[in-house]
């Protein structure tokens, strides 16, 4: 704690009134962990029902609520807030700033998010239940939602407002508050990735807000944006949604790229290979994310020219993504590698995200996508890029920076147990879903034909193994927060970046006098 009396107020007031980036970062991360467990419970409900054919536990309507809410909670409640939490904690430390540029707005955006989720989760208790139309909220189906409909839309508006404020804060901070000498091309890659992510957020969140607002007016005021009988078009919604939705998936993965770009050099004990190329690759991916949205909707009946454009543009994404994978691999080349928990998760990311990349490339090919679309093949694909992709990177980040946050080393042996259990079960869980999808099992069904039984059982066993393994993660974090071996300022053998120049735990106020960057 700071010696000169600028410590935080005690008790609950600290968390309600704090404008400190570290406190807000902690709140975001804790919130995200809670939502990860809540969304995980929903997933376990889904996998329990799918353990064998026939309906044993839930009715189909509730099953659809579970799939919808699982996705909304994991995307908007777990992954995005986790990366925002990391941004809050680490961007000021990485760029040598005393805090985020807009601290009050920072706190406001956190509490908006918390309120949004109280509202969203409360829809389970409303007449008609929670939204059940899939997280994409496609009309006309979404218009069959009960009392929950306006609540769900309003909570999305709140989440959107919260994300936009968070993004503005990141941009203003990075653009204005870098330490003297830290030019943009010296910016650590995590901060770079977040800067670009923030622009994506500002660009697409309002589009999503517009789309769902049109749903709201179609529902209550009988406008016909998406109603063919009134001259509208249900497919228009899909275009609007995916214009948001595709950049959204990069909003989840670009910070992960940034994290992995921090961790692999540390545990290879040499700087990242091709720093400039890494920056340009992130920027290219961000640009391409705006012109590929319709690859989520190849079966809606688009003109041939449209299908070709979106196929070719989508395939192009493989190029900058490939550059990143090759550069990470070359960073390890002729390095001096050690395998602490952050590195283990980063390496698992490298392998498993790449598998998700391959299935993504296969799905870009329109003729084959006519078979893959809306099957478990795509469920496998996006879980490979989101779980061993984004979520593993977030776990890697937690294991990388946790000693800096708490001032204690965590239990390495327990963390390695967490890694191996997680890495094995995630494959037991998701790999068989490739087979199910190719063999013809559609997604979002509560019950299935008997020939799909075996692989569904395997997948469900993987799900429970994966879910239970996360309790180890919680235990490691709790144990580390409560105490443990003192961490040094550097923490790791080969620290690089300003965050390792401040003591561990990072004092409540850091860089009140900006450091000099050469």
């Amino acid at each position: 704690m700071a010696d000169h009396g600028h410590g935080p107020p005690q008790g609950i007031t600290r968390w309600l009134t704090t404008t400190n980036h570290k406190d807000i970062g902690t709140m975001y991360l804790v919130f995200s962990l809670v939502m990860f467990l809540v969304g995980g419970l929903m997933a376990l409900g889904i996998r329990a029902e799918l353990f064998q054919p026939g309906l044993q536990l839930v009715n189909p309507a509730f099953f659809n609520q579970l799939t919808t809410m699982h996705a909304l909670v994991m995307v908007f409640g777990a992954v995005m807030p986790a990366t925002v939490g990391l941004a809050n904690w680490m961007i000021p430390l990485q760029i040598g700033a005393a805090d985020m540029a807009l601290p009050r707005m920072n706190l406001f955006s956190f509490w908006l998010l918390a309120v949004a989720f109280v509202l969203l989760l409360s829809t389970f208790l409303m007449p008609g239940g929670a939204p059940a139309s899939g997280w994409t909220l496609y009309p006309p189906l979404v218009l069959q939602t009960g009392e929950a409909f306006p609540m769900a839309i309003f909570s999305i508006h709140l989440m959107g407002a919260s994300s936009i404020m968070g993004a503005i804060n990141v941009i203003v901070t990075i653009v204005n508050m870098r330490a003297p000498g830290m030019t943009l091309m010296k910016l650590p890659l995590f901060s770079w990735a977040w800067l670009i992510t923030a622009y994506l957020l500002i660009a697409v969140m309002p589009v999503f807000a517009g789309g769902v607002t049109m749903l709201l007016t179609d529902y209550f005021f009988h406008t016909s944006f998406f109603n063919a009988a009134g001259g509208g078009d249900p497919v228009l919604y899909q275009h609007v949604f995916w214009f948001f939705g595709h950049p959204e998936v990069y909003i989840m993965i670009l910070p992960a790229f940034g994290i992995v770009s921090e961790i692999i050099p540390t545990f290879s004990r040499k700087p990242i290979f091709g720093y400039e190329a890494m920056v340009y690759a992130i920027a290219s991916i961000a640009f391409l994310s705006f012109i590929v949205w319709a690859h989520h909707m190849f079966t809606v009946g688009m003109p041939l020219a449209g299908q070709m454009f979106f196929m070719l543009a989508t395939m192009l994404i493989a190029v900058p993504t490939g550059v990143k994978i090759f550069n990470w691999t070359t960073t390890m080349w002729r390095g001096s590698l050690s395998f602490e928990p952050p590195m283990l998760f980063a390496l698992a990311f490298l392998f498993l995200f790449t598998i998700g990349g391959f299935s993504g490339l296969m799905m870009a090919i329109v003729p084959s996508d006519f078979q893959y679309h809306d099957t478990y093949f795509i469920v496998a694909h996006f879980h490979y890029v989101l779980v061993p992709g984004a979520v593993f990177a977030i776990m890697a980040a937690v294991y990388y920076w946790l000693p800096k946050w708490t001032g204690h080393m965590y239990d390495m042996a327990l963390a390695k147990w967490h890694f191996w259990l997680t890495a094995i079960f995630v494959n037991v869980l998701f790999f068989p879903q490739h087979f199910l999808g190719l063999a013809g099992m559609p997604r979002r069904i509560p019950d299935y034909a008997t020939q799909f039984t075996d692989w569904n059982m395997v997948s469900s066993i993987g799900a429970f193994g994966f879910g239970l393994s996360q309790l180890v993660f919680v235990w490691v974090i709790v144990k580390c927060a409560r105490g443990g071996e003192r961490a040094t300022a550097e923490v790791w053998d080969w620290p690089h970046g300003l965050e390792w120049t401040v003591p561990s735990p990072a004092p409540y106020h850091t860089f009140e006098k900006a450091p000099e960057v050469r």
């Binding site: 054919p53 026939g54 309906l55 044993q56 009715n59 189909p60 309507a61 659809n64 059940a132 899939g134 496609y138 006309p140 189906l141 109603n227 063919a228 497919v235 290879s268 040499k270 700087p271 290979f273 720093y275 079966t299 009946g301 041939l304 299908q307 196929m311 395939m315 493989a318 190029v319 490939g322 550059v323 090759f326 390890m332 080349w333 002729r334 390095g335 001096s336 590698l337 050690s338 490298l350 790449t354 296969m362 090919i365 329109v366 003729p367 084959s368 006519f370 809306d374 087979f435 190719l438 063999a439 013809g440 559609p442 069904i445 019950d447 034909a449 008997t450 020939q451 039984t453 075996d454």
Partner: protein, 275 residues
Amino acid sequence: MSKLPILSGALAALAGVPARADWDLLNMPVGASELSQEIYGTHMLMLWICVIIAVITFGAMIVAMVRFRKSKGAVADQTLLHNARLEATWTIIPVLILIGMAIPAVESLIKIEDTSGSGLTIKVTGYQWQWHYEYLGSGVSFFSRLARTSDLARQKGSGIDPRSVENYLLEVDKPLVVPTGIKIRMLLTANDVIHAWWVPDFGMKRDAVPGFINEMWISVDADKPGTYRGQCAELCGADHGFMPIVVVAKPKAEFDAWLKQQQAAATPVVAAVPE
């Protein structure tokens, strides 16, 4: 590929044996139509290209992880930071591979989207939760919904073991009947929410959007008459998982006889529109 999941299910059903769960269901069916076989070929080509790239990249990662371990005394080479030639190579080679992948994909896409020259047009309408089929120009139309046996078994707490039900969830009261060996144009629409019509053995899937008409074409090889099964593929509400598609493909002469018989039996609900 003798293990076509749905075809083998159909054969098993013909033999009076319920379809079994199967560990061998790992890949896309080759299918029974020109398009499904072409799509299967594209899929396998892409899969093998990905496997080859995976072997190379994963191989490099594994070599790095084994050779450059600190515990084996590896010392980091702080000078390996840039290599313009290397970086250009791994940008350009993927572009060339992608071009190689795109050419066959574009060719088959053009073929898939060409619905001209069809010998029969069937209008498919999706409802919550059943399908309606109309043989345009013939006055024959009917609904097709989940078979009673499956519907009873799938109720929560029914006490009926799904494994005891023949073609559980993949059986309907009245299947769509199509002729083999000709190109069939499908017009797809929906009455309430968006559905998607998909039979894996025909390779194609397309959304049925209320207020709009989509088209696609299917065919069944002349030498592959039989029963083919699929499901709605777009989330359409509570019973999305319970609106299967069953298609019986018959040789042209048998199909014509079937259609005549249907016409005789039918009191057309909708006036036939001549094509």
